[in-house]
């Protein structure tokens, strides 16, 4: 708590007393940011809930256009990547930089797999004419608001995918810094907070999957 210290390791910024204060601050700041993310997605979930409560039959019909199998595969892929991120943090905590780097690379690979699967899903829908809003031309679902369901679907999964892409970028940045030897068991704050971000991306998907794909 004191505002001074005698030994200032290089990774501690000048306005912090010690690396504990810096670590705790970064983590608290990240959690506050995650609260933000929850409410950001919250708006979309709210729109989803309102429309589902209005038109339950639309949601049951429209969900049949989504492939539960590939949704489940992607769920497992994201869970796997959450595991490898957790393992990456564990590695750096134990000063195993090689383990850190390997786990980061696996995480990136899994995130890419997720995006590829998503890409195929999107491509398939585009072919059928299932596009958001006014561009919607599909005739397989007889419901006045069918386009709105898919607008919600595209907004939710699209923004989630955007988060995955940002996550890949962050993970790559951590990997580069790890390569430069910046992290050790003494200092791994960026690894920890990137990990928190990635778990949140997983958390959101844990809800998106049953809400979008598993409506019978």
């Amino acid at each position: 708590m004191a505002n001074h210290s005698t030994s200032h390791p290089t990774h501690v910024q000048h306005h912090f007393v010690d690396s504990d204060q810096q670590f705790d601050s970064a983590k608290l700041g990240m959690w506050v940011f995650l609260v933000n993310e929850i409410l950001f997605f919250g708006g979309l979930f709210c729109a989803y809930i309102v429309y589902r409560a209005w038109h339950p039959e639309l949601f049951t019909q429209a969900a049949t256009e989504l492939n539960a199998f590939w949704g489940a595969v992607n769920t497992v892929v994201l869970i796997g990547s959450s595991l490898t991120v957790a393992m990456a943090i564990r590695s750096v905590q134990k000063n195993q930089i090689k383990g850190l780097k390997i786990n980061l690379l696996i995480t990136i690979a899994l995130a890419v797999v997720f995006m590829v699967v998503k890409g195929f899903e999107y491509a398939h829908k585009f072919e059928l004419g299932i596009l958001p809003g006014e561009l919607y031309t599909y005739e397989g679902i007889e419901h006045a608001q069918a386009a709105i369901f898919f607008s919600i679907y595209y907004m939710m999964t699209g923004i989630h995918a955007l988060h995955v892409i940002i996550g890949i970028g962050l993970m790559w940045w951590i990997y580069v810094r790890a390569n430069r030897g910046e992290f050790s068991s003494e200092y791994y704050t960026p690894v920890e907070i990137t990990g928190l971000y990635w778990h949140l991306v997983d958390l959101i998907w844990i809800f998106l999957f049953p809400l979008l794909y598993l409506i019978e």
Binding site: M1, A2, N3, H4, T6, Q13, H14, H15, V17, D18, D20, Q21, D24, S25, A26, L28, G29, V32, F33, V35, N36, E37, L39, F40, F41, G42, G43, L44, C46, A47, V50, Y51, L131, P132, G133, E134, L135, A144, Q145, A147, I148, S151, I152, Y154, M155, I159
Partner: protein, 579 residues
């Protein structure tokens, strides 16, 4: 844990650090030149850059306001077209809300003062702080672009479906406000973390200045509400780009849902604007009453209560929108509740004055103006919150008068109080007290002349957002317009003497008001790292019954900042038991 919540008792060696009246090095002299400003991570410079940008926007918004009022000088068309009028009031509203009031107190004054009141060297994430400023600038560029390119005519509320169809540059402004939201979120995140983790030894939650409590409550609202605005504006943008239809009745969507989303942010946002103002009022009123604040915890916790209840009342903007009767009734009830914590604050401030030795310096004059104007604004809000009355008053000038009494009479007056209060600390210069009092008088007279008549004509049925009106309202509109010119003169006068003070002002002492606040124990202007010792706090920030020496303590073994302490360490070494 690296905060002051330590439960064990520790003994710190402290000594007295009396702030030098003639500091050799300050944050203004140590890093000089334009580039050092643009790339600074110093919270003080970032605060001042925000202050400058906010002032620019205020000028722009103000000119638009005067143009609007001038158009209303005569019942028929005076000098601009109806369409132009629509664009002017939209941009006036959007600029004043998103670019002036939301960032004004937290990002400008708050940035400067918050770390100093905590005895910290900086906010927790200084680079994020700078980033938030540039994000603000980028958001501003988007809005400027809209201004020169087609304008915007939807009203600052962007209601669908008109905002989907309008030919004006809706996307530019929604994206601008979307980007701006991130700057607000970053500031909030930064403040919450700083308040939790960066307090100097001895600053417990019970010794936190009320300004910090207010900024804390504000930051919580910023973090919880702003992301909803972001997603709303993003959905609106998508609505215009892809026609996603969620808010578009033509496609089976629901425009009232847009209003829910918008007001879920924008009602809490009115508290983002006013709550930091409450913080300033608490600081100024104790300093110029030389008396402990009355009801410290009541004021501190009522800020949090306002932050919470403020999330439950948004539907009072939608009483006539066609939302269900159940929701309308519940929202009306909750709206009344929000008045309670606000009333608690006003009562405690007035009680603080009781038997104080009141000194009518300019900041204090603004506090009295605030108490008067904000109370009117608050009470008329309660009236608008009652269903039957609102059906009649909604979308009339009564609402316009209400929100100007709270936003301008409340937030902006509080901002002026804070600006005059901390000006000596920020710049090291004193302004001309006499001219400042004239300025305050002009503002007070001009303000009431502008907005009191609006209550009357509003209750008689004058609708808002029209560029002409029937003859019956002429006298009210003309009084209002003349009042707005007086207001304009008042602001010009303030700008004039503040600018003059920068060049020819008297040198400010470290603590011109005799305040007990920690920020006043630094030099004026402060050192690059705020204090060149580590402050130690043993008394509360409003303990005016205790001698000044007890407020000037720091760790005895400080002076490690990489530069020599330029202050004389006077007084004998003392031992202080913290917690």
């Amino acid at each position: 844990m690296a905060t002051a919540e330590v439960s064990n008792t520790r003994t710190l060696k402290v000594k007295r650090f009396k702030p030098s009246e003639d500091p050799k090095k300050t944050y203004l002299t140590e890093e000089k030149g334009l580039w050092s400003w643009l790339t600074t991570v110093d919270h003080k410079k970032i605060g001042l850059m925000y202050l400058g940008s906010v002032t620019l926007f205020f000028l722009l918004g103000g000119v638009l306001a005067l143009l609007l009022r001038t158009e209303l000088l005569t019942p028929a068309k005076t000098f601009i077209e109806a369409d132009t009028y629509n664009q002017f009031f939209t941009l006036h509203g959007a600029i004043m809300v998103f670019f002036v009031l939301v960032p004004s107190i937290p990002a400008a004054l708050g940035n400067f003062i918050l770390p100093m009141q905590l005895g910290a060297k900086d906010v927790a994430f200084p680079r994020l702080n700078l980033a938030s400023f540039y994000i603000y600038v980028i958001g501003a560029i988007f809005t400027f672009f809209a201004l020169v390119n087609n304008g915007l005519d939807t009203g600052w509320t962007f209601y669908t479906p008109y905002s989907i169809e309008s030919n004006s540059s809706v996307i530019w402004v929604t994206l601008g406000a979307f980007i701006l939201g991130f700057s607000s979120i970053l500031t909030g995140t930064n403040f919450i973390t700083t308040i939790h983790k960066m307090r100097a030894p001895g600053i417990t939650w019970g010794k936190l200045p009320l300004n910090i409590w207010a900024l804390y409550a504000t930051s919580i609202i910023q973090v919880l509400a702003t992301p909803v605005l972001a997603i709303t504006l993003l959905l609106l943008t998508m609505e215009r780009v892809f026609g996603i239809g969620i808010f578009d009745p033509a496609m089976g969507g629901d425009p009232v849902l847009f209003q829910h989303f918008f007001w879920f942010y924008s009602h809490p946002a009115v508290y983002i604007m006013i709550v930091p103002g409450f913080g300033i009022i608490s600081e100024v009123i104790t300093t110029f009453s030389k008396k402990h604040i009355f009801g410290y915890w009541a004021i501190a916790l009522s800020s949090l209560a306002i932050a919470f209840i403020g999330f439950l009342v948004w539907g009072h903007h939608m009483f006539t929108s066609g939302q269900s009767a159940v929701a309308t009734t519940v929202f009306s009830f909750l709206t009344f509740l929000v008045g309670i914590p606000t009333g608690i604050k006003i009562l405690n401030w007035v009680a603080t004055l009781y038997k104080g030795s009141i000194e009518m310096k300019t900041p204090m004059i603004y506090v009295f103006i605030f108490l008067f104007l904000f109370s009117i604004g608050g009470f008329t809000g309660i009236m608008l919150g009652s269903l039957a009355a609102d059906i009649h008053l909604h979308d009339t000038y009564y609402v316009v008068a209400h929100f100007h009494y709270v936003m301008m009479g409340g937030t902006l007056i509080a901002l002026l109080a804070g600006l005059h209060f901390w000006w000596p600390k920020m710049t090291g210069k004193m302004y001309n007290e006499f001219q400042a009092k004239i300025g305050a008088a002009l503002i007070f007279i001009g303000f009431n002349m502008t907005f009191l008549p609006q209550f009357i004509m509003g209750s008689q049925g004058m609708p808002r957002r029209y560029y002409n009106y029937i003859d019956q309202f002429t006298i009210f509109h003309q009084t209002s317009t003349i009042g707005s010119y007086i207001l304009g003169v008042g602001f010009l006068l303030i700008a004039y003497y503040l600018l003059v003070s920068l060049f020819r002002g008297e040198k400010a002492p470290a603590n011109p008001w005799g305040s007990r606040g920690l920020e006043w124990q630094a030099t004026s202007p402060p050192d690059l790292h705020n204090f060149d010792h580590t402050p130690v706090i043993i008394n509360g920030p409003y303990d005016y019954h205790k001698p000044m020496e007890e407020f000037q303590l720091g760790l005895a073994d400080s002076g490690h900042n990489g530069h020599d302490p330029s202050h004389d360490a006077t007084g004998a070494k003392q031992e202080v038991v913290s917690n």
